[in-house]
């Protein structure tokens, strides 16, 4: 935001008032974030097919675009835009039409607090981390709206599973970040990244054993939070056709798809900023911060894809068991342990 308002101030001089600068800067940042989201979806659909192909000893897309089907996502996009927009006759029309946008906006709002590079953050909030959890939890409403409004039992079951899973796994997800907040003493995403300055040994996941466990907990919970395998119960093809977006076509379906891949990248970005040092390089001085950040986040995304295509899907009861009886107690132990560690090593004020 600051970068953009400065840029506009330089371009227009005194032609714009502070309010105009604020609005222009905000709009530009929102546009950039929306473009980042769209390009995520484009790059990651291709990457996912290639990873899946590699793991299953086949090629994946090979034809469109000269080299290894690189233009496949573009072809898919054209196809999806050309599809007929179908609204089922007995659907709850306003809710049916609104649902994809609620999910998309919830995801886009969370992007505002991701620190890609020093100063390059759309909204440098004091409560950044807290804000990200809040707006992404509000997107759950969109899942329920979609499932209900479709007037289809598979959609409804998918939505019920998706919402139950999202509400449950939010808790270990947030609890796993609390030790980091305790160490940093701030919820501001910039402060959290700056606290990890000075090479890999200063990154939060290597701070102490409890934080390492917290990082693993965050990673597992984040996979469940974005409804991906092995936690992809909301859209089990064998039982629910496609889950809560069964009835959606064309552009509206594309919004679900976009939000799914954007959320995948979002949770990886949060993990990068909170546990993996954000834009700080492995060693040495800060160098190409934005690129370092994106590389770390993309590596985490590839790890999630690897897990998705390797592990079998859980059952619903196993899913809830893992969350409430294993991950939540472990996360609480991590919070307590990190506190004791801080007291023992004299880091607590």
């Amino acid at each position: 935001m600051q970068v953009m308002t400065d840029l506009f101030a330089r371009i227009f001089g005194d032609g714009l008032s502070s309010l105009g600068l604020l609005v222009a800067g905000g709009l530009t940042m929102a546009l950039i974030m929306a473009l980042v989201m769209a390009s995520c979806a484009i790059v990651f659909t291709w990457a996912e097919r290639k990873v899946a192909g590699f793991i299953q000893s086949r090629y994946g897309p090979m034809r469109v675009g000269r080299w290894h089907g690189v233009l496949q996502p573009v072809a898919d996009m054209v196809k999806i835009l050309g599809k007929e927009d179908i609204v089922p006759r007995d659907a709850d029309k306003p809710l049916f039409m609104l649902a994809p946008f609620v999910i998309f906006v919830g995801s886009l709002m969370a992007w505002a607090a991701i620190p890609f590079a020093p100063g390059f953050i759309a909204a440098d909030l004091d409560l950044g981390l807290f804000y990200i959890f809040a707006v992404s939890s509000a997107a759950t409403i969109g899942i329920l709206m979609a499932g209900w409004a479709s007037n289809n039992k598979w959609s409804l079951y998918g939505a019920a599973r998706g919402a139950a899973q999202a509400v449950s796994y939010e808790i270990p997800l947030a609890l796993a970040c609390i030790p980091v907040v305790m160490i940093t003493g701030s919820l501001n995403m910039n402060d959290i990244v700056i606290a990890q300055q000075g090479g890999i040994w200063r990154w939060h996941f290597l701070h102490d054993p409890f934080l390492f466990v917290a990082f693993l907990l965050y990673f597992v919970a984040s996979i469940a939070e974005v409804n991906r395998g092995p936690f992809d119960l909301p859209e089990t093809e064998s039982e629910l056709v496609a889950g809560y977006h069964t009835e959606y076509t064309g552009m509206r379906f594309a919004f679900f798809f976009l939000a799914e891949y954007a959320n995948l990248f979002l949770v990886s970005c949060v993990a990068t900023a909170v546990f993996l040092g954000g834009w700080q390089p492995l060693f040495g001085p800060v160098f190409l911060p934005g690129l370092v950040f994106v590389i770390k986040a993309v590596l985490l995304v590839l790890l999630q894809m690897w897990l998705r295509w390797t592990l079998p899907r859980l059952r619903v009861d196993q899913l809830m068991h893992v969350c409430w009886k294993v991950m939540v107690p472990l996360a609480l132990v991590c919070v307590l342990g990190a506190g004791i560690w801080m007291l023992a090593t004299g880091q607590a004020g």
């Binding site: 809710l95 409560l127 809040a134 939890s137 509000a138 409403i141 329920l144 509400v167």
Partner: protein, 167 residues
């Protein structure tokens, strides 16, 4: 600018609340209520209470309303047929009168001899300020509330169990 945003959020909040009462489908009512909560969060943010604003979204919009929607959907939330809704319009108007009267009394009482002021409130609701109050000054009350909540959870669990003692 702040005044404009305040009236925008407040107006949308009241409008959404009215739609919550007026909608015929329970799910639509719940979605309007979520919208009303989001606008309330906006008002909190304008009143220099960002922590409260985010809590409002996290707890009410993100958790409580999700549970509400869950219950409504599982029970196949009723949609009032149009003719029933038509019949109840008169009754609704009748019920709205005392509610409006109470609202007028409350607002006039609250506004009595006070300037409408916001944005420049001396107390700020940052996370640190809220934590200071909850974990220092009102620590005992805060912990007692958590015991009350624990009792409520245990009670709900024991009521929810069936005869064989299976959860």
């Amino acid at each position: 600018m702040e005044t404009f945003l305040f009236y925008l959020c407040g107006g949308l909040m009241l409008g959404a609340a009215a739609m919550t009462v007026a909608s015929r489908s329970a799910v639509a009512a719940a979605v309007w209520l979520v919208f009303s909560f989001v606008c309330a969060a906006g008002v909190f943010a304008l009143l220099a209470a960002p922590f409260l604003a985010i809590l409002q979204i996290l707890i009410y919009a993100g958790a409580i309303m999700v549970l509400f929607l869950f219950v409504i959907m599982m029970l196949q939330g009723p949609v009032l047929p149009a003719e029933v809704a038509g019949r109840t319009v008169g009754r609704k108007a009748l019920l709205a009168l005392p509610a409006a009267a109470i609202a007028v009394i409350l607002i006039s009482w609250a506004a009595r001899g006070r300037e409408a002021s916001f944005g420049a409130t001396p107390v700020t609701g940052t996370a640190a300020a809220v934590a200071e109050l909850l974990l220092n000054r009102y620590l005992l009350a805060f912990e007692l509330i958590s015991i009350v909540l624990l009792v409520a959870i245990v009670g709900a669990m024991s009521l929810g169990r069936n005869e064989e003692g299976q959860p």
